[in-house]
Amino acid sequence: MYAYDEFDRAFLAERVADFRDQVARRLSGALNEDEFKPLRLMNGVYLQLHAYMLRIAIPYGTLSAHQLRRMAHVARTYDRGYGHFTTRQNIQFNWIKLEELPEAMAALGEVGVHGIQTSGNCIRNVTTDQWAGATPEECDDPRIWAEILRQYSTLHPEFTYLPRKFKIAIAASPHDRAAIKVHDVGLRLHRNAAGELGFEVLVGGGLGRTPFVGKSIRAFLPARELLSYIEAIMRVYNQYGRRDNIYKARIKILVHEIGAEAFAKAVEAEWEAIREGALHLSDEMIAEIRGRFIYPAYETLEDRPAELVEALKDERFATWFANSVHAHKVPGYSIVTISLKPVGAPPGDATADQMDVIADLADAYGFHEVRVGHEQNLCLPNIAQKDLPALWAALDAAGLATPNVNHISDIIACPGLDYCALANARAIPVAQEIAKRFADLDRSRGIGRLHVNISGCINACGHHHVGHIGILGVEKNGQEFYQITLGGRADEQAQLGTLLGPAVPYEQVPGLIEDVVDTYMELRAGPQELFIDTVARLGVEPFKERVYAAH
């Protein structure tokens, strides 16, 4: 966990007080909506179709049990008893009243959580691997570097009014769980041949209206030079990025228009001028931040203890274990994913009671720590293997042990037309119906890893471009239609999906997805060939022929 200092707390209390005052002035009419809107957006407050929505950042996806319990309290007291975890390591409350927002924010601020950097044209909260600090794959804890960036970028005067919002993600394992290639800046932390720590720097990735996979502009940046290099990127962007047209203002457009090489050149030139300056990170500064991350007091334990071996005789437990439990860097411990995708429920939603259960379990078994991943699931990063049977029983009783992580029913979906004022079409009910069709666990296990991502409009909050199967809601003559893409992926081999064919109406989507999956099951080279690999090998044509012949 990260220990916030007094400055952070005082700062948050001040921000809440400011917002309380702004809300009072808005309610009294002293501020009009045009004046108030940017202020509320800066604090993560949106107006949706039928209510205000509060978006809370969860810096690098790390939450304490205490914080999660407070979120449960806010969901219960100020909302309708649930919250929605998003793909940006945020949580959203969907029904908060403007009048009560300052109270809710104060309650959250007391435990160090807030909506700053969840909105507006600033550097947004930096995201990273939800397994950070726990996975044996990583070369260093990426949260150290996320925190260094957070401190640097929070309210940086020069970077609060960028041409557009700016998103940074960091991965430190060979398998990228942070989707760094579809962020404005992606940082791949690794060691070079000499064993030194550094970043590969990618720029210009992003989804939305004009999706791009990020391009590498530097293979190795010594880690201590991170801030000066980011500053150089921001300066080049600030100088050349387009402010005249919001659709062209993202860094991805600039990189695309001038080319990655020219962009890299401009950054390097800028960097040369500033790299020896104040942003150079000293060993002391890095050690100071590193020291604020408090790691669990792990016990000396053996892998596969007797309790676990015994429990694995239970088929339901064994199924969950195989699906939701992952290797840990410390012997005798595991990382546990908690699926927020029970079949038929809105993806990513958790009730206040479920949040309390998870917080209690984190206290009892998980060193008080919970993580939020970009797949809209939660994670307990430090569970002793001997405690897994008891943990599972408690999760199962709370409806939190669906063993479908990375299966076809583990769908990412944006709020879509059920909540969002920008939507063309619904996303959540589409996800629910697909999940129901694949509810049979043997069937979905047989299909293997398959990511379905759904967005209700071109803004791509549901990451449809990078779903193995992507579904995008469009509008045709006032009706909901959906475009299907195949072959997208968000990991280290990130690529955008290919359009399968003409858009189909709402009712036809689940059947079409079943046809796509049946086609895969027929065409795959064997059970070890994943859906994404079959699409890569054969292209979309064979799928198109089958699917559109049937509809």
Partner: protein, 102 residues
């Protein structure tokens, strides 16, 4: 369903002016006497673009009761009652189309 605020105002059939209540974001409808109601049955219904523009302009004069006013389609049922005119408006009135977590 592109955001109605961005659409050119074309009126085919009955429409009403709708917005979100400032205090809590709830969906409200423009009523007689320059007021707002959470009940669509209270809404003023007009059928021409000129009337809709006038109704909208009046609604936008004061943004302290309701925000984001726009013109939304409605349908008049056989029994004379008024219902939202498209899926977006139905969702605004009735909430999400699935069971909320509880």
């Amino acid at each position: 369903m592109a955001s109605p605020q961005q659409q050119k105002l074309k009126v085919h059939g009955p429409v009403a002016v709708t917005a979100n209540r400032l205090t809590d974001g709830a969906v409200v409808w423009r009523t007689r006497g320059d007021g707002w109601s959470a009940d669509l049955a209270d809404a003023i219904i007009v059928t021409t673009a000129d009337d809709a523009i006038a109704l909208l302009a009046a609604a936008q004069k004061r943004d302290i009761d309701a925000v984001g006013a726009y013109v939304a389609p409605v349908v008049i049922e056989a029994d004379g009652s008024v219902a939202p005119g498209n899926l977006r408006e139905r969702i605004r009135v009735a909430g999400p189309t699935f069971e909320l977590p509880h």
